[in-house]
């Protein structure tokens, strides 16, 4: 196992910057997820770590060894690809043992490793089949088996679950997590799915347009986003954003929504932080799960603000119900219990948890 260090990594294609100077430190045995929208440079970064893409500028260290000019086969890296990349003319057993055979392992050793990996991944009965005879989930498990039998220093995952259906994706996510608990290999996982990122990662690296927006644990990213992009990318449904302005209200501050809506008092604990931005145009961010049903007028808990809304659209999810309504011209989403949700066109009393709100500078995109 080994740590990975990336310093000032750049990748340019025909004068277009795909990766614009990123720095990441990944500890030995850590599971890090690179997440971001399509085209943000996460797969390119992964391929540069693997040695499958040339580096334009910067340095990559694996276990403190500079690997910029080291061949992929000599980096002791295994990779699980989006489209499995299994060798179609070989059986599952031969696919899994291929890397070991190329490296000259003894037959007994190969057999032991393949059998052990196949048992762990529940593919023992599939070993004599060719990839064309396997389902998507089975192929992905064989691909994972091919990666783990080599016991590499670093394991790379390039959107391995993208081609699977939703149910299988959930199942395979658990398999990957279980695998990492067992083998504890340093793992770098690329996905565009923020749910995968949140459930799998020990740390998340959020990328956008070739740059790193934020690095942190799932909780840090969720509770303390540093930019509007991160705040809006993580969380499903996405965070609500409303244009607003800070005004003085007695000894405290109040948020007035541009486009109409109720005045929202700023919690006392946050007054000091936001005072310098009095009178400035800002963006209020609040997650749907932090707007919930209020039992009655005057019944809001401490730190919550009551708001009367007229429901536009109702989306029942089973466990929760999403309510969509408008404040001014902005569509807002709230997540409520299905027991209390009302229908479209009805008036309902909600409460917003102001301690969980974020104010964002619209010019810089940073969360204040």
């Amino acid at each position: 196992m080994a740590g990975v260090r990336i310093r000032g990594l750049h990748k340019t294609y025909n004068r277009t910057d795909a990766v614009c100077g990123i720095d990441i430190d990944i500890a030995d045995g850590e599971f890090v997820v690179l997440v971001g929208p399509s085209g943000c440079g996460k797969s390119t970064t992964l391929r540069m770590i693997a040695g499958l893409e040339e580096i334009t500028k910067g340095e990559i260290f694996i276990d403190d060894r500079l690997v910029n000019h080291v061949q992929p086969k000599d980096r002791d890296i295994a990779m699980v690809f989006q489209h499995y990349a299994l060798y179609p003319h070989l059986t599952a057993r031969e696919n899994m043992s291929f890397g070991l055979r190329m490296r000259g392992y003894a037959k007994d050793e190969i057999k032991t490793r393949v059998t052990e990996a196949a048992g762990f991944l529940n593919i023992a009965e599939l070993l004599d089949r060719r990839p064309g005879q396997l389902s998507g989930g089975e192929r992905q498990r064989v691909a994972m088996g091919r990666a783990i039998v080599r016991e590499p220093s670093v394991c790379l995952f390039d959107e391995p679950l993208s081609n699977l259906d939703a149910k299988l994706r959930v199942k395979m996510r658990t398999e990957i997590k279980r695998l990492h608990h067992k083998v504890k290999t340093t793992s770098i996982y690329v996905t565009h799915d923020q749910v995968e990122a949140m459930t799998l990662a020990e740390r998340i690296v959020i990328m956008n347009a070739g740059r790193i927006e934020q690095v942190g644990t799932p909780d840090e990213i969720y509770l303390h986003p540093k930019t509007k992009f991160v705040a809006g990318f993580i969380g499903s449904p996405a965070m609500n954003f409303l244009h607003c302005r800070l005004a003085k209200e007695g000894s405290g501050l109040t948020i007035s929504l541009i486009g109409g809506g109720p005045l929202l008092p700023v919690p006392t604990a946050l007054t000091g932080r936001y005072s310098p931005y009095l009178g400035k145009d800002l963006v209020l961010g609040i997650r749907p799960e932090h707007i919930k049903e209020c039992p009655e007028h005057g019944g809001a808990q401490a730190g919550f603000v009551e708001i009367d809304i007229k429901i536009d659209v109702v989306e029942p999810l089973g466990m929760d119900t999403l309510l969509y309504f408008s404040i001014g011209d902005t569509e807002v989403c709230a997540r409520v219990s299905p027991d209390v949700a009302r229908g479209p066109g009805e008036i309902m009393l909600l409460m917003a948890e102001m301690n969980k709100m974020h104010l964002i500078d619209p010019d810089t995109g940073t969360v204040l």
Partner: protein, 296 residues
């Protein structure tokens, strides 16, 4: 009820009705001439004698061919096999090299592709004439370079080198189709499998040998069989280049058929040789179909 039965009948018959004009045309242009050819091969028909005077001699022409009484028949078959094997192997090797080169990102790819497919645009008989000029002892450009660097000229279409020169022409003509088929095969290979192979410890050569070539196998087999058909029944370029000579050095089976029929006038015998050629080509075609079905 009756209306439903009529509709059902037309629905089932429609594909056959639409395809029938093409099938009929194909039948008239291939099967019927082959049957007529077989009919002629059972006779002693010769040029210069009336068609009505022909005698039906059964399989006598075939007996004469296969027992070696027509002394040039078996040598022409052997030469055809030799030319086909060499032509297919060389076309495959060079075509694969060209396809691998074109599969990379190279500058001026469209220009090189145009140059690659030029031989396909040249009529086979014209190709033979063109190369005859290039191989000319006195003023051929090849001998200009040979004489400049080695101090002597080569009789490219003489007894010693005629077969070699013929093979050069055939390979030159068939490289484009081979390269294009193999390039299509290479482009269909998932590039991630090659990257996976590199991570698994393969060098570029090993990845090509162990991962790319096996995936290319069906295309290689189909392309080889197709090239074999083209090579076996080649006539035009050899006719204009060497006319099967000198002597019978380049007399492959199609040339034998031509010489027997038009030089010697023995049309019945020539037809028998042509039927043998058709049978061999049909076997190769069936092998291509079998390969395609096996892959599916």
């Amino acid at each position: 009820m009756r209306n439903t039965n009529v509709q059902s009948y037309w629905k089932k018959s429609a594909p056959y009705i639409w395809v029938s004009p093409s099938v009929l045309t194909l039948f008239l242009l291939t099967v019927v001439p082959t049957l007529l050819l077989f009919n002629i091969s059972l006779t002693s028909f010769e040029i210069g004698y009336p068609w009505e005077d022909r005698e039906y001699i059964g399989l006598d022409n075939y007996v004469r061919l296969f027992t070696g009484r027509e002394v040039e028949f078996w040598p022409s078959i052997n030469l055809s096999i030799f030319v086909t094997v060499i032509s297919v192997v060389m076309t495959l090797c060079i075509g694969l090299a060209v396809a691998v080169l074109f599969n990379r990102k190279i500058k001026f790819k469209y220009l090189f592709t145009t140059i690659l497919i030029l031989p396909m645009a040249v009529n086979p008989a014209i190709a033979g004439l063109m190369w005859k000029l290039l191989f000319s002892f006195d003023f051929g450009i090849i001998n200009v370079f040979v004489e400049k660097y080695w101090g002597y000229k080569i009789v490219w279409l003489g007894q010693k080198y005629a077969l070699f020169s013929t093979l050069v022409v055939l390979i030159w003509m068939h490289i484009p189709i081979s390269a294009l088929l193999l390039l299509a095969g290479l482009e269909n290979i998932n590039q991630d499998t090659i990257m996976a192979a590199k991570l698994d410890g393969c060098s570029d050569t090993q990845a090509f040998r162990l991962i790319v070539l096996p995936q290319l196998k069906p295309v290689i087999i189909s392309s080889s069989l197709f090239q074999a058909i083209l090579a076996f029944q080649t006539f035009g370029p050899i006719f204009t280049l060497t006319n099967g000579g000198p002597g019978s050095v380049t007399t492959i089976l199609p040339m034998f058929v031509y010489k027997t029929g038009f030089d010697l006038g023995m049309m019945g015998m020539a037809a028998a040789g042509a039927v043998v050629l058709v049978a061999i080509t049909a076997i190769l075609s069936l092998m291509i179909m079998w390969t395609g079905r096996k892959k599916a």
